[in-house]
């Protein structure tokens, strides 16, 4: 099979986010090469879905968050989409891995929020945000390591 895709849709409530996270973790565990951490992908997807619920929909229930998981020959792509308030593109552009650096001697200066996008950018290989026709999608891509194209974690067998 060249391409596998699964779509998950949840209502915009924080209680539903773990359901998506666990499902993505399970999917990555089952179908992705060993060099991709299921926990890392779950973390990125959870952060992205949290952003949809908290920022795009302002924690209002009754809206859809759509998560599309796709596995290609050399990459894994997860799109997290909402139809709420679009994110300011600057947030993604300005989210930098350096924001995860801390001064551990300055406890009062430690940020209590704002780590979601830097975490995503640290873990994923490509992060693209698009807002078109009222639909906003954050696309998260992770490429497979060289020589790992089809090796699976369960038994090291070639994939389909």
């Amino acid at each position: 099979m060249e391409h596998k895709e699964i779509k998950l849709v949840i209502d915009s409530e924080l209680k539903n986010v773990s359901l998506v996270g666990r499902t993505i973790n399970g999917l990555v565990s089952m179908v992705s090469p060993c060099d991709i951490s299921p926990h890392d992908i779950e973390l990125c997807v959870v952060e992205a879905v949290n952003n949809c619920v908290e920022h795009a929909y302002g924690k209002q229930r009754g809206h859809e968050v759509e998560v599309r998981f796709a596995l290609g020959q050399d990459r894994l792509v997860v799109d997290v989409c909402d139809t709420g308030k679009p994110m300011d593109q600057r947030h993604l552009a300005e989210a930098d891995v350096a924001m995860l650096e801390i001064d551990h001697d300055d406890i009062d200066g430690l940020a209590e929020q704002g780590r979601g996008l830097p975490i995503i950018k640290e873990i994923m290989d490509a992060v693209i945000y698009q807002s078109k026709g009222g639909k906003n999608c954050l696309s998260l891509t992770k490429f497979f390591g060289s020589g790992e194209k089809t090796r699976r974690c369960t038994g090291g067998q070639d994939g389909d």
Binding site: L14, E47, L100, I102, I107
Partner: protein, 113 residues
């Protein structure tokens, strides 16, 4: 958010019984920790051995709890499973919190101070 509490002298050992410390439970956790601090607890060990997932909101709640101490006290963490420890390292929180594998090691570390 379910938290089991016990005392070792003046040390409060608080064990999170939920398997996730995330955006859903972050506010409850923040309130619980705020309660511990306002009750006068200044030496707290947080056992997260049952927690297998922490997101940035959960981390934010942990940072908030540490700030509540206002430099007068400490929060040690113990029992972090590998994925959670990886999250701490990714966000450099392993440099903010002292983290121990075993609860008793954390108790011992606080007891000698």
């Amino acid at each position: 958010m379910e938290i089991e509490q016990r005392r070792e002298g003046d040390i409060l050992v608080a064990k999170i019984l939920n398997d996730r410390l995330d955006a859903r439970g972050a506010d409850d956790f923040r309130k619980a920790m705020s309660g511990f601090v306002s009750d006068g607890n200044r030496r707290i060990i947080l056992d997260i051995s049952a927690v297998d997932f922490v997101d940035s909101s959960g981390l934010g709640a942990l940072v908030s709890a540490l700030k509540l101490m206002g430099g007068d006290g400490d929060i040690l963490i113990c029992g972090a499973p590998d994925p959670v420890m990886r999250m701490f390292k990714l966000t450099r929180m392993n440099k903010v919190f002292r983290i121990f594998e075993e609860q008793q090691d954390a108790v011992r570390a606080l007891s000698v101070e």
